[in-house]
């Protein structure tokens, strides 16, 4: 049965974010704050970069704050000015991605001022942004979230989250369903999903880990992956994306949320994360790791795949 999720604390979070942003912009701690602001449509939210303390009241936090703002800090997003220390508003899942970027030497902790959000969950889709947050509309990633309270931030509003309502573990269930299929059934499933892909690359562009200055898919001298949105090139892209994110993806689920064709992309990432956990006992977290599971070698690593 669908149940409403208590997000009454989000207005207190909004107040706390505004107060903190005003303070750190006024006293010069940071040069800019990357956060969320409201859009024109009821409930709509969009990312914003503010540089003046007077704009702090534009910031907010609601169930429609779906974006992972860490993406704006990467070298792939040259448009966001990166002078001085920058503050960024992060949910737990977003923070794990940012921690991964620090581990990959893409960001320096001292250049950042992290505003962590104690989070009760966000919407799975903002096609209709004014929806109420319920056990049905909540993002699948939130159903399996174990990191509602970010760690290691410069500021986390002191807000007590209500205890989470039990949620159906959608990814786990879907992965189990796909694992139970025969390889040809599974292939049919993904073939149909990938057939919808139009190569808009929204999944790539919103991903904090897709910071390559030139994606292999954009190379044409020589061409590495078929560029045309056809079955072969689509499949190549999605397999490449999943493999390239294995051991790195923090599970923010932005790829899946941004996909205009509703391809369940995070399912591939979750499956990879599951394998990595089983094989190497690693998963994305709040602690910076110098080396990821696929960029390091340990003598006791599982080698059963070598036959």
């Amino acid at each position: 049965m669908t149940q409403t999720i208590d997000i009454s604390r989000y207005s207190a979070l909004t107040e706390a974010i505004r107060t903190e942003a005003r303070r750190i912009l006024s006293d010069g701690t940071v040069s800019a704050v990357i956060g969320y602001t409201s859009g024109r449509r009821t409930g709509a939210v969009q990312p914003i970069v503010i540089t003046a303390a007077d704009d702090a009241d534009k910031l907010l936090f609601t169930a429609a704050c779906v974006n992972n703002l860490a993406v704006y800090l990467t070298k792939a997003k040259k448009d966001v000015p990166k002078r001085g220390r920058i503050a960024v508003v992060l949910k737990g899942c977003d923070l794990k991605a940012l921690v991964g970027l620090i581990g990959e030497s893409q960001l320096k902790r001292e250049d950042l001022y992290l505003i962590g959000i104690p989070c009760s969950g966000v919407l799975g889709s903002v096609l209709k942004p004014d929806q109420e947050l319920t056990t049905a509309t909540i993002a699948s990633k939130c159903c399996e979230c174990t990191d509602r309270l970010p760690q290691g931030c410069d500021f986390v509003p002191a807000v007590d989250l209500p205890s989470p309502v039990p949620l159906e573990q959608r990814y786990a269930a879907e992965i189990a369903r796909l694992e139970a299929m025969t390889p040809s059934e599974r292939w049919e499933y993904w073939k149909e999903q990938f057939s919808k892909c139009i190569k808009c690359y929204a999944c790539r562009q919103v991903c904090p880990f897709c910071f390559c200055e030139q994606c292999l898919c954009d190379r044409n001298r020589p061409q590495m992956v078929e560029q045309s949105p056809r079955p072969s090139g689509n499949t190549a892209w999605h397999i490449m994306r999943a493999m390239h994110l294995a051991g790195r993806c923090a599970g923010c689920g932005e790829c899946e949320r941004a996909c205009p064709m509703d391809i369940p992309l995070n399912l591939l990432n979750r499956k990879m994360a599951k394998e990595l956990k089983e094989l190497f006992g690693t998963e994305a977290g709040f602690e910076v790791q110098d080396k990821g599971p696929l960029t390091s070698f340990k003598e006791d690593d599982d080698q059963s795949f070598i036959r």
């Binding site: 859009g39 929204a202 078929e226 560029q227 949105p229 205009p260």
Partner: protein, 335 residues
């Protein structure tokens, strides 16, 4: 001459078309997402949801082959396209915002070069529109000179009636011919009232005023504030009924392969990347500026038309919430 058709007869009509081997394309759910796709039975048709992608792909597919090449020794054999690849098609359940974009696209596809791929499909397709009775908060056809019952671009327009069924109004010879061919399924209008048209909460823009501002503000700080958050994907262009940029790439091996044409988007960094390495649109705000300029200035300069039908798809799907209606409203206020 207006005719009327019951819901049941409409479904029977669809099945008769399909039985006859007619290709029928309409809104259909594919792997969970509603798209304009070939139907295999009348029950496939989804009438209560705007497809995620527009109907432009019926004329300008996501991807198509232009030619095939084969090299043997020093001989290169090039196989051209054949006209039989453009089957007669009935496009059904097309929303006014999608249908209206088709004549707008005619201008660019038959301008300095007649694009036979687009024009052949155009010739062989009958467009049957479906008036909207529901709008959502992203719809703004009424702001760009259209309406939820505008027949622009349709050959035949279906308007839902109180108590079920549709009123069918022809708007071209093709529409008349369709009604004549399938007259048995239709009846004379019995005076039933059409369902109230949808009412998007969008009052008409002064497009001249918007264009006047764009004419003078190629360089403006507004572009930064609008698009600094743009992540540079092609989602807005790809779901748009009017965006029509494409790329052409040869794919295959040295011996054999195909030349393919597929959708491109001005949001991509690669879009204006020169072979020299220089990119005149080096930052995202410059790319987003092109999106607005092309729709509301360049296309007007060249063809006297607006390259936007207010479907609202880009507003709904933009991963970072860029809202073209909001931008136009601000621009109008500045103008």
């Amino acid at each position: 001459m207006q005719k009327q058709i019951t819901e049941a007869n409409f479904r029977l009509l669809l099945d008769s078309l399909l039985l006859k081997g007619q290709r029928v394309v309409g809104p259909r759910r594919t792997a969970g997402t509603v798209l304009y796709e070939p139907l295999s039975s009348a029950s496939d048709l989804v009438m209560d949801e705007l497809p995620r992608r527009s109907a432009k792909e019926a004329f300008f597919p996501v991807c198509e082959d232009l030619l095939e090449y084969r090299k043997e020794g020093q001989q290169v054999q090039v196989t051209d396209i054949t006209p039989d690849r453009f089957p007669e098609t009935v496009l059904i359940g097309i929303r006014p915002c999608d249908a209206a974009a088709v004549p707008v696209l005619d201008a660019v596809f038959s301008w300095d070069y007649n694009d036979q791929f687009f024009l052949e499909r155009r010739k062989k397709t009958t467009i049957i529109g479906l008036a909207c009775t529901q709008a959502n908060d992203a719809c703004f056809c009424t702001a760009v000179g259209l309406s939820p019952s505008d027949p622009k671009g349709t050959d035949l327009m279906f308007t839902p009636l109180e108590g079920g069924g549709f009123l069918a109004t022809p708007h071209s010879d093709k529409g008349e011919a369709f009604l004549a061919t399938w007259q048995d399924r239709f009846s004379e209008p019995d005076g039933s009232t059409p369902l109230p048209s949808a009412q998007p909460a969008a009052t008409p823009f002064d497009l001249k005023k918007i264009k006047a501002w764009l004419d003078e503000h190629f360089e403006d700080a507004a572009w930064d504030s609008i698009a600094v958050r743009c992540v540079g994907c092609g989602a807005c262009a790809f779901v748009c009924p009017a965006c029509h940029c494409f790329d052409i790439v040869d794919e295959g091996t040295e011996k054999t392969g195909k030349r393919r044409k597929f959708w491109d988007a001005c949001g991509f960094w690669k879009f204006t990347h020169h072979a020299s390495g220089h990119n005149p649109r080096d930052l995202q705000p410059k790319r987003y500026r092109n999106r607005i300029m092309h729709k509301f200035k360049y296309y007007d300069d060249k063809f006297g038309q607006t390259l936007c039908t207010g479907c609202g798809r880009c507003i709904r799907i933009c991963p970072v919430g860029i809202d073209i209606f909001d931008i136009l409203q601000d621009t109008e206020n500045k103008g």
